[in-house]
Symmetry: D2
Subunit: 248 residues, 4 copies
């Protein structure tokens, strides 16, 4: 199995290196990841400028671009061989609920949707430690289950792992995305030259986070596995819109 | 009605100015948009650096940031008054099928999901002319229908308008997103100093583009209206994953 | 006379627009300037990515790049006609002493060193008002004197104008650059997500600022005119180095 | 001796690593350098956004910023101990004549002008090999001579080393900067989406490059050592300007 590994924290982050090493036990790993932290990059693609891509070792590349640029480049010609799947992470921090919209970790996985196996985005819900090894082992586990019982290819799994030893996990749960409240207020500040500037405020607190949600699972110490779709169509609203158009 | 207008082509683009002027006939318009073309920015949020925001006129702001930054800032404290809805566009070019994942136009609309009315992303399917006025009139039409028969607030409408006179439109269709093939190959090049660089290749051609899709509607000369969801959970796969976990 | 106008505050700044309008009385003005504030850009040239250049009006261009990029592009092929000289400014704030090393305003003028007439960088020493008109009139004055009594072409004039009505100026002085103390300390801060960041501290205070220096002239209410050289060779040290090499 | 090492090719470049290792034989080396290639950055200082600085090892830091940012940060508070001097390089390619205006390598050295010993910028004139070791040995040589016979502190040495074994060098020469012709024409191109873009053209060819210049020395196989000044005042023109003002 040829596994393409990427992330949004940058190719020097602890998470991606723990992940790449763990996955090399089950497949041939190629790392193509941003050269800098690009958290919050979402699915952004760099269209206005060319990309600089540097080979930093055998099957190791860093890209002066976004997570999506990295995976896009890898599967459209940078690499000689086609990968079978993308694993993105291990992100330093959770990607729960609305976070996935902005997440570069999830976006890198989405960009792997054209490959043969479901893509996985994996995040460590930082808290009690730096248990990246737990998250790596969870991914290995999921790959084994996938092999035994295949999922449809056009699926992305968003996996959040509590920050604790593997033995202390309380289980694995299939979850839906919860929701956060609107983000905290914009932070106004001034730079040392007295000019105004603004920081995007922290993410909102949990709002829809009860049983069945990803928030709830990780709070209970379980690995949260949320299947995501790349097709954003709200099918349930199609009839409503159609009727609405007819009534005009 | 207080309407927040944004886009991803930048605040100087023709599309946003035609849109803002048209909407000022039906509501109070505030423009908060990127200072540069940020096509392909998706939902990226600028978290690592502060934003510079410049007021360029009455209720007119440009942001040295992304479309998502612009709308996020506007609804979390930049503006004194809360807006009722976001209209994003008029994008210079279509946003069909997989394009919506990368689109800054659609992302700006998504960021308005917390407001009272459904957000609208509107794009002109460039072809025969520069009929931005047609797209503006389509938006005014949709607002009137919304008022008559409300849609749920947490809905985004992705609207693509053929580039022709309003009278030449063949109708309005409720559509699902079609799909494109994988993108064209990465374009390798060298800069004038002889160093290698890479351009992201053009979007793939249409693959799933039959009746019922957005591709099909605009090809037929109709306005395509696709309801989008912000919740990416693939609910249909939850049972499958749950069973899959149990079988382990 | 064909005058190329640029700056580092961006093409929308008050200073460049006052300057362009004033100069149009004495020559044909073309504006090629950065699209954003690029203060502190020094002579930086964008070599790693291509430039986007937008025409915003007749003989008006904005460049997604630095001041040096703007003038460089203008004189190496962007414009059909060759300019006779570059005037850069009116900068919002002084460029005195060591400031010139970092100044994009001065750099834009330096980039015009290959043209037929001496380049001028002009800055308003902000203080009591917004007397950009005073600075514009000073430039017109200097051009008239230049015409009467030419200076060598490979000269850059760094002009700093006190922020007061033209009538309140106490004269024009030929000055040398003074010097500042080392810059203030780096400013450590944390972003709203708790991560460390650093701001470059404010410029150091005046140290070598007595009679004959640019600092002294503007403090006395006079226009300071400092001739600058583009050749950084310290000729006086050549013999010393040569002897030093021989002694080895 | 505490030596601060920086460059403009980025902290992963071969040149800076060869240099840092060589210098550790004669002093305590601290590396503070850009995280990416920032050739052409000149003396640009990042004033509009904060800097992210990452510690990558003991006395090793990379800065998401320019060479000038790197040295500026290092000497205004990033490091606990004050450095005695800055050595910048080994640049991948020559910095001759007008190049020094744009060079980030030279700028990093200039930013060290406030320290106790003369700063050195060192570049390898790429050609026949990758003889970074030769350039490193040249720097060690120069430091020994400096110690024996001190130069004034406010001096920058711009050193260009032919790309050959140390034994094949034909000597060391004290040189003045030569000059290049105007740069080659702007390169017009279009991106894969058909939109126009421009690349800064290659540097101009040599024009003033005879005996005594840096161009001439390296062509003859000798190390070129050019003393540079930070004070850009063209003292010889002061009287002329003064007379010119009086004549008005």
């Amino acid at each position: 199995m040829k596994i393409l590994v990427s992330n949004d924290d940058g190719y020097l982050a602890t998470g991606i290196n723990v992940l790449a090493e763990a996955l090399s036990a089950v497949g041939q790993v190629t790392v193509v990841a941003p050269d800098r932290n690009r958290s919050g990059a979402s699915n952004s693609l760099t269209l206005d400028t060319p990309l600089r891509i540097h080979q930093t070792g055998e099957r190791r590349y860093c890209v002066e671009g976004t997570p999506t640029d990295s995976v896009h480049a890898a599967i459209t010609g940078l690499l000689d061989e086609q990968s079978d799947m993308v694993v993105s992470g291990i992100n330093e921090g959770a990607n729960l609920g609305d976070d996935v919209l902005y997440s570069g970790t999830v976006a890198a996985a989405m960009e792997g949707r054209f490959l043969g196996l479901p893509a996985i985005a994996v995040s460590l819900v930082l808290g009690e430690g730096q248990h990246y090894q737990t998250a790596a082992r969870v991914v290995i586990e999921l790959l084994a289950r996938m092999r035994a019982e295949p999922l449809p290819a056009d699926t992305i799994l968003n996996v959040n792992v509590p920050d604790r030893p593997y033995e202390a996990l309380t289980g694995f749960q299939a979850t839906r995305l919860g929701h956060r409240k609107r983000a905290e207020a914009l932070v106004r500040d001034t730079d040392p030259r007295g000019r105004p500037l603004y920081w995007i405020g922290p993410a909102g607190s949990e709002e829809d986070a009860g049983p069945g949600t990803d928030f709830h699972a990780v709070r209970a110490g379980a690995v949260s596995i949320t299947p995501l779709q790349v097709d954003l169509t709200r099918y349930a609203a199609l009839d409503q819109i159609a009727g609405w158009l007819d009534s005009a």
